[in-house]
């Protein structure tokens, strides 16, 4: 078996890439996708630990995270479409008011 550190580093790498995406990209959709990537990195950690501890709970939580991701994507994209209809833009730094 591989040492678990491999998985952790992989996960760390994906996480960092995701974080960088979130911070540096202006396009909200790509930001959202980066967030999905971050969630995915977490999933890898969970599944890896689940495998190594022999406890299926990690996979359960990964499953919940996937469900959450789906919900998040649905709502997020809904917001984006609504926003786009109103503002004709999807750039993150043009969204700086809570209400308009």
């Amino acid at each position: 078996m591989m040492p678990i550190g491999h998985y952790l580093f992989l996960s760390l790498a994906l996480f960092l890439i995701g974080v960088i995406g979130v911070i540096t990209r202006r396009n909200v959709i790509i930001v959202l996708m980066s967030i999905e990537l971050i969630l995915n990195a977490v999933n890898i950690n969970l599944v890896a630990f689940s495998r190594y501890f022999g406890d299926v709970a990690g996979q359960v939580f990964a499953l919940f995270i996937i469900a959450d991701a789906a919900a998040e994507a649905a709502v997020g994209l809904g917001i984006i479409i609504a926003f786009f209809h109103n503002r004709e833009t999807v750039l993150a730094d043009e969204m700086d008011l809570l209400k308009w």
């Binding site: 078996m1 040492p3 550190g5 491999h6 998985y7 952790l8 580093f9 992989l10 760390l12 994906l14 960092l16 890439i17 995701g18 974080v19 960088i20 995406g21 911070i23 540096t24 990209r25 202006r26 396009n27 959709i29 790509i30 959202l32 996708m33 999905e36 990537l37 995915n40 999933n43 890898i44 599944v47 890896a48 495998r51 501890f53 299926v56 709970a57 996979q59 359960v60 990964a62 499953l63 919940f64 996937i66 469900a67 959450d68 991701a69 789906a70 919900a71 994507a73 649905a74 709502v75 994209l77 809904g78 984006i80 479409i81 609504a82 786009f84 109103n86 999807v90 993150a92 730094d93």
Partner: protein, 175 residues
């Protein structure tokens, strides 16, 4: 040996395409690379013998969420490249901080790995052919120990669905 080959194969794809995803100017391309990353992650799941999660990843993420993303990208016509990377000081601070976090976390993991005798070298995971059927085990855990979270998750999905429908609906009174 086969395991590590498979792992490195998928991990490489995942990292590379993740990097490509963040750097592509075209949103559709980003999406395609994200799909690739996700598929690679699914492969890693399979390598970890999480079969159900593997297929859930494919069905939900790739088959569901990503199609949605692509759909929306096309819908709001974001397929034309935009000035994507934000400029200015914040970007550099951000990159610096992100890298700091990465280095810190890497050091933590690495040092923990290096510790003699114990640590992250987890005591013998069960061999792959001795594992119980993954789906049944997952179902048992999900519907016995985690029934309430499961139901809450379903409510969450319902709420998300309603919310998405409401938000995406045409407003009758134009702003």
């Amino acid at each position: 040996m086969l395991d590590s080959v498979i792992f490195y194969f998928f991990a490489g794809i995942a990292v590379i395409s993740a990097a490509l995803m963040v750097t592509r100017r075209n949103a559709i391309h980003s999406a395609v690379f994200l799909i690739t990353t996700l598929l690679a992650t699914a492969g890693i799941f399979l390598q970890l013998r999480a079969e159900f999660l593997f297929i859930a990843q494919i069905i939900l993420y790739v088959g569901g969420i990503m199609v949605l993303f692509i759909f929306v990208i096309m819908l709001v016509r974001l397929d034309v490249p935009l000035p994507q990377i934000r400029s200015g000081l914040q970007k550099w601070i951000a990159l610096f901080v992100a890298l700091t976090v990465g280095v810190e976390a890497g050091v933590v993991i690495f040092l923990a790995r290096k510790a003699p005798g114990q640590g992250l070298l987890i005591p013998n995971p069960a061999p792959a052919d001795k594992l119980p059927p993954n789906t049944e085990e997952l179902a048992n855990s999900l519907f016995r120990s985690y029934l309430l979270p499961f139901e809450i998750a379903s409510v969450l999905l319902l709420v998300a669905m309603v919310g998405a429908v409401v938000m995406a609906k045409k407003r009758t009174e134009a702003p």
